[in-house]
Symmetry: C2
Subunit: 264 residues, 2 copies
């Protein structure tokens, strides 16, 4: 299990099952252990199945891994102060976004869009202020340092506990050009190929599909969000019955090289 | 039903159920009637529920509505011929994309990204060659002329047949800047608000979430795709148990005005 293998059979029914009983996660918590406990505590999850995928939100991963920063004492640079004043933002948070960025893609309309060290291009560098715990209004979460590795740790724990090698995604909410609203996508993966390349497969009429690479990891992340609930109380879900291809893919497979992209 | 109303209660379990028995759709077919028949033919769908959403793919909508064009006899302009030769594309299809566009956003790397008359910004103007029927290799599908109205027609038929006012989405596969792969998003909506505005709602720690407008219609479309199957054989799905807000929203609500967008 876990090696490259065939796709799951096509499926007609997919379930998204949020895990229950996940407590407020704190820095240093054993998130893989928490996930295993929640799998055991949620009715109907066990036995795990070969067509399960587990999706964990970035926020609990970052919190458990200590990928948080206290804005108290952050000294914003003049550019951050000016931008924050103009757009009613927290200058210290803008400063942290700029410090975490490898480049600034856009900085306008109150939005700072940066490229993170992981290669993600996103608003505020994935830094997020809401839902970071009751004690600390000035604490923000950063992205996990290596989200593939975060996913891998959960995968290993679930495999050891249940005997089933369940692929794991770390999800986060991203905005998109041209459309309002955020959707959840994958920022880390372990155990499945995040892209399903259908080029060269014949379609139902026997024609070859030329431009069909499906971002299945991103669709799984969006589906999981539908069961998470709106205020962060259910940050882990199992998707049962979706078709995916096992493999040792990395989220880096999804990132378009800058020279191929038309919107850098 | 169908008027603005409260969100469905938060949910822990969401099901995606592909409808069975949808035949090859041809121009002039009664798609709403086909959907109603498939609802009746698929075990476990009836009775419809108040937390159901129905998702129909663009391709069957376009085919039923005759939003197709035969490339035979299309005379490509020199720009289309040059681009097609350079990037191994069909010059007649490039010509159709350009004719349908209100503006060309990018034309490079073998990709033509245009703004459609609906305001969508997408590769090839949403024009698609695969899965358009066994008889006609030169026929491509265009986007439906008014996808909200297409969704509305299916919604009315389902309401009349089942007594339940089920919101309907029309979905299509779009690429994204910066990431490889397509994901399904909503291009038409009837009966729900495509954006869920959580700004001003307190999060679980009592803080107000400032920048959380969720594109729930797009997430529903992505979830539906997981049950569609890869070769177009199951183009309609019911999503059961997701939280959404009823209302008479339009997909135009999702489109970012050009002066707000940073990537035009």
């Amino acid at each position: 299990m876990g090696a490259d293998g065939p796709s799951s059979p096509p499926t007609h029914q997919v379930e998204v099952l949020a895990l229950e009983g996940i407590p407020e996660v704190e820095p240093g918590d054993d998130l893989p252990g928490i996930v295993v406990a929640a799998i055991r505590a949620t009715p109907g999850i066990l036995p795990m199945r070969d067509d399960d995928v587990l999706v964990v939100t970035q926020k609990v991963v970052s919190k458990a891994e200590g990928a948080v920063i206290d804005l108290t004492g952050i000294e914003p640079r003049p550019e951050a102060v000016e931008f924050a004043e103009r757009w009613d933002r927290d200058a210290r948070q803008v400063e942290v976004v700029l410090r975490q960025a490898v480049r600034v893609v856009r900085m306008a309309n109150g939005v700072v869009i940066t490229e993170t060290p992981h290669g993600f291009i996103c608003a505020n560098g994935g830094i997020d202020a809401s839902n970071v715990g009751p004690r600390s209004g000035s604490i923000v979460t950063l992205l996990p340092r290596d989200p593939d590795a975060s996913a891998e740790r959960v995968r290993v724990a679930v495999r050891l506990a249940t005997g089933v090698d369940v692929p794991v995604l770390v999800s986060d909410s991203f905005g998109r050009p041209w459309r309002w609203g955020i959707v959840d996508i994958a920022i880390g993966v372990s155990g499945l190929e995040p892209l399903e390349d259908l080029r060269g497969s014949p379609d139902r009429d026997g024609r070859v599909m030329h431009s069909t690479v499906r971002a299945v990891a991103d669709e799984l992340a969006s589906a999981a969000e539908l069961a998470f609930g709106k205020v962060g109380g259910r940050p882990v879900a199992i998707i049962r019955g979706a078709a995916f291809r096992r493999g040792e893919g990395s989220i880096k497979d999804v990132l378009m090289p800058r020279d191929m992209d038309l919107f850098t």
